[in-house]
Subunit: 450 residues, 2 copies
């Protein structure tokens, strides 16, 4: 009998982040300055990010050492366990081997602290006193609140309004770690006030909240902005997850036939699959399946083009799959997947056909989540529940075909702060949202002209 | 540098529970039949418990093997980590070494599944189809919901009303694992209806909820009762925690000068300290400090006498510290500590002077909890936060005296479902409750006459 959990000792924790940029088969299209349309330079980004992170954003080093101060905080919960889903396999009567890499053991309950700690460290190193950010479901905001707290940095979080009210516990968690959290759109920024003037009941979106946080940082000398996903340096910091998972699978004499994860901005899943990209590029057989909500199907339905990361158009233009930066997704419970765009690295790999994507409505996703919770105990967050649905379907397909596939699931966090969504599902009150084709068409009509 | 977390491999997980009964310096006073006043026999307990657990309740074997089916579920999250609180030590500038054994990594978020899984197993083995129980803060109810789910047993939970409304997420968690949960006092039992007739706004208590669950089990052939604390077999199942902690401390070449934990019914803390009792009885210097709320100071203020475990007087008489079985404690946020009695084993050891107890008001407890969360990341449940306050005070005393004491903290669970309490504390709205002397005197006047 193989183990239920494959664990690593602290000494086995990776000491570098893996940078995929030099390994890409074609170079990543650069970010462009929104005013000039020319590739952004480090100097362009300096008003909002510290230089340490800007260097990482553009680095072509294969591995970047994790500072000891960051490692020592990682060690409070890392390496995280790799579970073998024996009970789920049995419940599905499948010959497939299902492993899940579980990031819910972090104090914030998700993978987000991997970059929050790193970002707070590099800001602290350059003397920054205050950080501003946005958050969807609140996972990122709580992670940055914790990261800032460890380094004595003040933290202001703009939280997407629909989630702020659906998930009050996330707000309290941020406050417990000393951060200030406001619902977005807020009265605290010009971007927020403009939107509230047009639509006082606007449920908010990640794009709007990003505009608010960027504006906050640009307008204050003591403040830098922090993004919890999308950018290269964020994905970089998350690669500790995939590197660990790879080591753990090696200990179980396994290599995945497929890796499945959810994508909102793309960082959680990229953190898991990027360390496997060199294997795939060398010809190793491996499917990498990204799962997104049908209500916000960026990679499955959007064009691959240059767009802003935020609603107000303050960020650089990124080459990515996008539903248009003015698109406000329906209020699905997976708040972390309500983003109009996608990480340029994830978009590039999808465009090259190295990775694939599917989109799902939320009811079957919650059905899969409850099935998982009843088999494995852990109650997953709504975001990775999207990936669970695909894993269950693939495992059932193996039952039909008799194939003993090895599946790696990126289980990015627990659902302890998302139980209102489970309540809705169990009470038969969960609403599904069709693909909002017309709203997307409107938003795409407003793509920036190059 | 020593490790941040001392972990054990699955193979190092203890395979037996430790039974303190044969090691006690004086025998434990027996439980008495409420009608006859004579020691209860296995046959007396058979209507409410399966025989496997009744045997354990009275066993004088030193070690009882953990069934493989139970071990295989334990391995989903066990062995749990032992953390070294480096960041807290630094924040306190103390020479003390603080370790904490963290049970919050279980899917239910506390130590409670250790006995829930075992109890569900022994019930299943004897063909039981349905289990009924009570819960305070909801930690026990959610653990039993999960345990029953794994073994295909129906689960009904009577949840103390004040917690049911303060902590809706715990109810949803139980439902996600397939259990049915009602606020207690409820209309579903005669005990509940009697209390509601007298006081429709009764906030409930563990004693009342126990009466309801016991009545439910007695009245249905397919149903047995399950208790989440107090009884010998429950403490037995929790000893896996202390046995792991002892192994982990040995790996760090350490032995505690003091062990600190919170006590409600006593099982979490007994699970940690019982495996250290033989060392203490052999003369090893070791303080064992139990921490309880000032609003419900069972061991520090109650008499050591025979009393019922529940309000309606349905349970056997247990020799224990008690505030009277009709006492309804004030609605402090640490719902798991709102119990009028105390485990007979814990009471006996306190009466013998082997362990000691202190009582604390909740405001300084939450202050300590926030301090802990900001140092160590983990947001503790309000119950173990009581122990954290004592650990911090002891560590500060070490700073004064220069002593390098080794402190072991029993961190029984996280506070993810208790954030409303943190909200109240951070918003300056937390109420303290003085020792309710008159209500206790009234309840003590109703102690059963022997």
């Amino acid at each position: 009998m193989e183990k239920t959990k494959i664990i690593l000792e602290e000494e086995e924790m990776p000491t570098s982040w893996y940078n995929v940029l030099p390994d890409l088969p074609l170079p990543l299209p650069p970010a462009l300055h929104p005013a000039t349309g020319k590739p952004v330079t480090p100097a362009d980004l300096a008003p909002i990010f510290p230089m340490g992170l800007i260097e990482q954003e553009m680095s072509h080093q294969h591995y970047i050492e994790i500072p000891e101060e960051v490692q020592s905080i990682y060690r409070m919960w890392r390496p995280t366990p790799l579970h073998r889903a024996y009970r789920l396999e049995k419940a599905l009567d499948t010959p497939a081997k299902i492993f899940y890499k579980y990031e819910g053991v972090s104090p914030a309950g998700s993978h987000k602290p991997n970059t929050a700690i790193a970002q707070a460290y590099y800001n602290k190193k350059e003397g920054i006193k205050r950080m501003a950010t946005e958050t969807g479901a609140g996972q990122w905001g709580s992670a940055l609140a914790m990261g800032c707290n460890f380094f004595g940095i003040e933290c202001k979080v703009y939280m997407v309004k629909v989630s702020y009210f659906q998930k009050p516990y996330r707000r309290i968690l941020m406050e417990t770690w000393g951060a200030k959290c406001v619902p977005s759109p807020s009265e605290d920024t010009q971007s927020g006030r403009n939107i509230l003037a047009q639509d006082p009941d606007c449920p908010g979106s990640l794009g709007i909240a990003i505009s608010e946080a960027v504006e906050d940082a640009v307008n204050r000398d003591d403040t830098k902005y922090s993004l919890g996903s999308v950018l290269n340096h964020v994905l970089l910091h998350q690669t500790i997850v995939g590197q660990e998972a790879k080591k753990q699978l090696e200990k179980a004499d396994s290599f995945p036939d497929m890796i499945v994860g959810c994508i909102g901005g793309g960082s959680n899943f990229a953190g898991v699959f990027l360390p496997f990209i060199p294997d795939k590029l060398k010809g190793r057989k491996l499917r990498i399946i990204c799962v997104e909500p049908e209500a916000c199907p960026t990679v499955t339905k959007g064009p691959y083009t240059y767009d802003h990361g935020d609603v107000a158009g303050l960020t650089p233009l990124l080459k990515m799959y996008t539903l248009g930066h003015t698109f406000v997704p329906p209020p699905v419970h997976a708040g972390g997947l309500r983003y109009h765009g996608m990480a340029p690295i994830v978009s590039h790999l999808a465009n090259l056909g190295v990775i694939e994507a599917v989109a799902l409505p939320q009811t079957p996703v919650f059905e899969a989540a409850v099935r998982f919770a009843r088999a494995e105990g852990i109650v997953p967050a709504p975001e990775p529940a999207h990936a669970i649905k695909v894993v269950i379907d693939e495992a059932l397909a193996c039952r039909e075909s008799g194939e003993k596939k090895t599946i790696l699931l990126a289980l990015s966090g627990h659902g302890h702060f998302d139980l209102a969504a489970y309540d809705a599902y169990l009470g038969g009150k969960l609403e599904d949202y069709a693909y909002p084709q017309e709203k997307v068409a409107e938003a795409l009509a407003q793509l920036p002209k190059l």
